[in-house]
Each structure stands twice: as structure tokens, then as C-alpha cells.
């Protein structure tokens, strides 16, 4: 009940945001939505199944670049298929899943930290391809992202659109798309986690041998979750490309993968809500610091030397990861649960303090 209200309240607020907030905040929010989708994916893999991945950024890149390739018109030396954009988005997610599937003979066999080391190779492979497979990726310059076009609505600044006196540009329009995709992604993951696959995944994480003995094909599940988490990363990549409107190769590096791990550790391992909370924390923080860098001590303007906002944010949530690991095993979500329990206990306390007549004997 409490959870349902939180969800409904959150959705209601989110629906009104574009009418009140300016572009900067919308963009920050959209990055956060994309991050949340990706974080849900890696939380299925790492949080719920105990399989470490440092290759999440690779699958985001696959999603982002595959979308551009499918949707773009061929132009000069740049290849493209000029498919309808919704189809391109769906295909991009599928391609990310296929990429995960190609890696699944490894993902199914290696466990925990060993998989983490193996996935490191994906980052290097990804960076190499992004910079060198120029006809597909545009190389160093990246590629322009064709705007999504859904049921006749173009997710771009033109043609103009005004709703309730608010001009609806690309960010306002994407806001609702992002929200819808995030909700579907969260709903799907919740179903997986609460159902038969989720129980198998959690048992693989905690007692691999017991899982096998109970009839769970452990290797097949590990491979399957890896594919699923790659598809989430692919969807996050498509969202990111649409918001950014340009793909930038160096963005999809090691640091992005680490960001995702930081998100789920800070937010809470193994749950959808934990992933979302962590995504808000990790992807909102740098943007907040950028915005107010002039008002903050120690944080310098970008490019002026000193600690840049991005670096300051990394230091801050690096510290947050350490603090969570040391003091908050359940992450921020676990902290919220504990506070809620403490509050409900206090509310119930008076009832316990007045003893009933027969207990006084």
C-alpha cells in the first residue's frame, strides 16, 4: 500500500515536471531516466544474480549506435538503413541483446568477479570499434542521432508544439517517452524479480550449488540474465542518444561502467527501486554540481583548472560507495526501509504502553 502510493505520487509529480521546470532540469532528469533503465539492467545481473559486469557501457554503446545506424539516412561515408525510428529503437535493443548473447558462453560459465574481469575486455573492444569502425560509428566525431518519430509526433524542437502555454521542445516531448520506457522497464524487471526467474537468480547469487540441486540450470540462467541486462543497457543507450542528440565515443568507457556499479551499490543491490534511487544519486549529482559550481567552494568552473564538477561528483559518490559499503549494507533504499520501520514502530508505541487490564496481574 505504502509502496503503491509512493509510486503513484512519484508518477503524478513526474507528469507535471515539464510544465514547470526549465530545460536544464529536464535534461538532467532525462539523463537520470536513461541511467535508471540501465541501472535496473545491471541490478538484475549484479545485484540479483551476483554476476559482476564491467561491460555495461559496451552494451549502452551498442544500443545507442545501433539505433543511429538503423534510423539514419546513409550520408557520405556514413552508413544507415533509414528505418522507421520506433522500429530502429526496438531493433537496437534486440541487437544489444544479441551482443549479450554472443558473450553468453562466457557469461554462463564464469561467476562473480571472474565475469567482471572478462567483461573488461568488452570495454576495450567497444572503444576500439567506436573509434575505428567509422562508416558505422562516425569515429572520433560520433554521429548525429535522428529524432524519434512516434505516431506522427517528432521528438525534436521542430515542428513547434505548445501545450497549456508551455512550448514543448525536444526535452519536454522526450520526458514523457522516457517516463513511459522507464515505467515499462521497471514493471518488467519487477515481474522477473518477484517471479520464478527472480527466485532462481537470488539463489544462484547466494548458494550456487543449492540452486543447481533444486533444479535450476545455473549456467543457462546466468547467460539469460546477461542477455536481459544487455537489453536494458541497449534501451538506456537509445534513450541517451535521443536526449544527447549526438553519440560521443569516449563517453562509453570504463568510467560509465563504474558509474553503473556505483548506482546499484549506493541505491541498493538487487531491487528495481534501489537501481532507480542510485541512478538519481549518481547521475543527478554531477549535473547539480555543474549548475552550482560557482556557488560551491573547492569546485571550479569546467575547464578553468582545479576540481571540475564532474570530478567533484565522482569523488563525492566514490565516498558514498565506501560509506554505503561500510555503514549501509542495503544502500539508500535499505536506509529508507529502516527509517520507515522505525517510524511505524514509534507510531504503534502508545498502544503498547497502555497495558490491558488482564495483563496487569
Amino acid at each position: 500500500m505504502y509502496k503503491l502510493l509512493t509510486w503513484l505520487g512519484g508518477i503524478a509529480v513526474a507528469l507535471f515536471v515539464p510544465f514547470y521546470l526549465e530545460g536544464f532540469w529536464l535534461q538532467a532528469g532525462l539523463f537520470t531516466m536513461s541511467a535508471a533503465i540501465g541501472a535496473i539492467g545491471i541490478n538484475l545481473l549484479t545485484g540479483a544474480t551476483g554476476q559482476l559486469s564491467l561491460g555495461h557501457a559496451f552494451f549502452l554503446a551498442v544500443g545507442a549506435y545501433a539505433y543511429v545506424y538503423f534510423a539514419a539516412e546513409p550520408e557520405g561515408h556514413l552508413a544507415g538503413l533509414n528505418l522507421p525510428t520506433p522500429l530502429a529503437a526496438v531493433l537496437a535493443v534486440i541487437v544489444a541483446g544479441i551482443a549479450g548473447g554472443l558473450f553468453s558462453p562466457i557469461a554462463g560459465r564464469l561467476k562473480g568477479a571472474y565475469l567482471g574481469i572478462a567483461t573488461l575486455a568488452l570495454i576495450f573492444l567497444g572503444q576500439h570499434l567506436l573509434f575505428n569502425a567509422e562508416p558505422l560509428t562516425g569515429g572520433y566525431n560520433g554521429r548525429a542521432v535522428p529524432p524519434m518519430e512516434l505516431f506522427g509526433l517528432v521528438f525534436a524542437d521542430t515542428p513547434e508544439l505548445v501545450i497549456l502555454n508551455v512550448p514543448f521542445g525536444v526535452l519536454e516531448r522526450l520526458w514523457f517517452l522516457g517516463l513511459a520506457v522507464l515505467l515499462v522497464a521497471a514493471w518488467f524487471a519487477k515481474g522477473v524479480l518477484r517471479g520464478r526467474p527472480g527466485r532462481a537468480m537470488n539463489t544462484i547469487r547466494d548458494h550456487e550449488i543449492a540452486a543447481g540441486v533444486m533444479g535450476v540450470p545455473v549456467g543457462r540462467y546466468r547467460a539469460g540474465v546477461f542477455v536481459l541486462s544487455s537489453m536494458y543497457a541497449g534501451a538506456a543507450g537509445v534513450m541517451l542518444a535521443l536526449v544527447f542528440q549526438r553519440t560521443v565515443p569516449e563517453y562509453f568507457g570504463m568510467l560509465l561502467s563504474l558509474d553503473y556499479l556505483a548506482m546499484i551499490v549506493i541505491g541498493g543491490l538487487g531491487s528495481v527501486a534501489g537501481a532507480v534511487v542510485g541512478a538519481v544519486f549518481v547521475s543527478f549529482l554531477p549535473q547539480l554540481l555543474t549548475r552550482y559550481s560557482d556557488a560551491l567552494p573547492l569546485v571550479a568552473e569546467p575547464g578553468s583548472g582545479g576540481v571540475s564538477p564532474a570530478e567533484a561528483a565522482r569523488i563525492l559518490y566514490g565516498a558514498a560507495v565506501v560509506a554505503v559499503v561500510l555503514f549501509l549494507p542495503g544502500g539508500l533504499l535499505g536506509l529508507a526501509t529502516r527509517i520507515r520501520l522505525a517510524v511505524t514502530r514509534r507510531v504503534q508505541l502508545p498502544a503498547e504502553l497502555t497495558p490491558s487490564p488482564d495483563s496487569r496481574s
Binding site: 514493471w187 515481474g191 522477473v192 520464478r196 550449488i209 533444486m214 533444479g215 540450470p217 545455473v218
Partner: protein, 269 residues
């Protein structure tokens, strides 16, 4: 051929000359035993005798270097753990192996894994078929929980329950697989007297109401004498005696093994 299916669904388990080695140590040395359908067979022996190793071979956790294990016409030694589970072999662990943060209900539902179908897609899409399946199996899970005496604990995270209750949850999880052969590795170890008696009652009830074969590792000789139809004694990986419990108890080799070992029967009682 031996090991054929019995009318009631359970089958003979035949372990023949199974050998297991770990880097220089022979944990099992050509061990053989036969579990008759519907009987309780106890495996006893001092610590380190190879009892748990034997269970690990039967459930596919360890691979035998030599020998064969036949159950209902299937050769188990080359099957992976989940394939063996699919044949209806369930087990508990000497050291509790339950995901601590999952509720008792979810732990028991995991026992239904092999009997259910919902995959990523149908669970993720919250399909009615997946929900119906879960509801159907939850009803059976509740029945089994009541049978094992943990019906009131279904919502509790397993890790918060007392040790004795966790042992019951593990047994219930194995029963949720609707097994034809149940392997129990020291089911009463670490329990107090009252809990032991209750667990023994429970094992008797399982035998009588389900008619499945049970292979039992236990140090408590009182319980072994009471429950077992047959006993196999291991010492240093070798089978040193076997037969009906009264006979085995009087066997000089058995008495020697227990008296000679650093750990005697009393210590475990």
C-alpha cells in the same frame, strides 16, 4: 535390469564402486550401497569418512572418478545437478544453504522450480498464465509448510529464523520438489533434544505418508536405530559394514572405527 521404476513412482538407488579423489586424498574408495524403494537407509561413520562426499556424488555436485550410480534406469554420475533434480532427487545440506534474505515462501517456491515453467518473458510481462501457475503451486507449498510445521513463518526472511527452523525450511524446500529420493545430510545436527525428537517424527511421517526413499546421514545413533531400515558404515572413504541396524551396531569393525576415531558417537549425540 535393476533400478526399474516402481509402481508407486519411486525407484531403487544403486551405488556401485564409486570412487572420489581430491588432490591425493581418496574421499570415497569403491563404495557400494543399495537403497530399496520406499526405505530409509542410513549412512554413518566418523567425521571425514566421506558421507557428505557420497551425497555430493549422488546429487551431481562432485564427479566420481570411477563407479556408477543408477536411479530408476538413469545413470547419475554424468548428469549435472539440475538434470538429477529433474529425476526427482532432492537433498538438504549439512550446512544450511538457503538464500537468507528470501522469505520462507520464496525459498519453498524455489523447490517448485522444476515443476513450473514461467520464464523471463512470462514473469516480466506478468502474464496471467504465470500468475495462475504461481497461485497453484503456492497452495501446495502452504500444504507442505503446514506438514513440516513452519506454516506460520512463510513471510519471514529465512536468515532471521532460529537454526532449528531453518533446518525445517531446508527439508520443506526439498519436499517441495516432490522428490522420489530424498537425501538428508545430518538433519538434526546442532539441534537440542526436543527439536531432534520432532525432526525424527517428521522423517517418519515423510516415510509413511509419501512412501519415498530416504538416504540419511546421521550421527545420532538413537535416531538411526529408530528410523533406518538399513545402514551403511563408512570409514576413511571405505564401506566397512552394512545391513540391518541391529546387526551393524554389533559389528566389531564398526565399534573399532568409532572407538579408534578421534570423534566418538557420544560427541555427536
Amino acid at each position: 535390469m535393476t533400478g526399474s521404476y516402481q509402481p508407486d513412482g519411486t525407484a531403487t538407488l544403486e551405488v556401485r564402486d564409486v570412487t572420489v579423489r581430491f588432490a591425493g586424498l581418496t574421499a570415497l574408495d569403491a563404495v557400494s550401497l543399495t537403497v530399496e524403494p520406499g526405505s530409509v537407509h542410513a549412512v554413518i561413520g566418523p567425521n571425514g569418512a566421506g558421507k557428505s562426499t557420497c551425497f555430493n556424488v549422488l546429487s551431481g555436485v562432485y564427479t566420481a572418478a570411477a563407479g556408477s550410480v543408477r536411479f530408476g534406469g538413469a545413470e547419475l554420475t554424468r548428469l549435472s545437478t539440475h538434470r538429477i533434480a529433474a529425476l526427482g532427487v532432492a537433498r538438504t545440506f549439512q550446512n544450511i544453504a538457503l538464500p537468507p534474505r528470501l522469505s520462507v515462501r520464496d525459498n519453498l517456491l524455489l523447490g517448485r522450480h522444476r515443476l513450473t515453467r514461467a520464464g523471463f518473458l512470462s514473469a516480466g510481462l506478468h502474464l496471467p498464465a504465470a500468475r495462475r501457475e504461481a497461485a497453484r503451486h503456492l497452495a501446495r507449498v502452504e500444504e507442505i509448510a503446514a506438514f513440516v510445521g513452519i506454516a506460520g513463518r512463510l513471510s519471514a526472511p529465512v536468515g532471521l529464523l532460529p537454526y532449528g527452523v531453518q533446518k525445517r525450511v531446508e527439508l520443506a524446500r526439498a519436499l517441495c520438489m516432490e522428490p522420489r529420493l530424498l537425501l538428508l545430510d545430518e538433519p538434526v545436527a546442532g539441534m537440542n533434544g526436543g527439536e531432534r525428537a520432532e525432526m525424527a517424527e517428521l522423517i517418519v511421517a515423510i516415510k509413511e505418508s509419501l512412501g519415498i526413499s530416504i538416504l540419511l546421514v546421521e550421527h545420532d545413533m538413537g535416531i538411526v536405530m529408530r528410523l533406518a531400515d538399513a545402514v551403511t558404515v563408512l570409514d576413511f572413504g571405505r564401506r566397512i559394514a552394512g545391513g540391518p541396524p541391529e546387526e551393524v551396531q554389533r559389528d566389531p569393525a564398526v565399534i573399532r572405527a568409532y572407538l579408534g576415531a578421534a570423534t566418538d558417537l557420544e560427541e555427536h549425540a
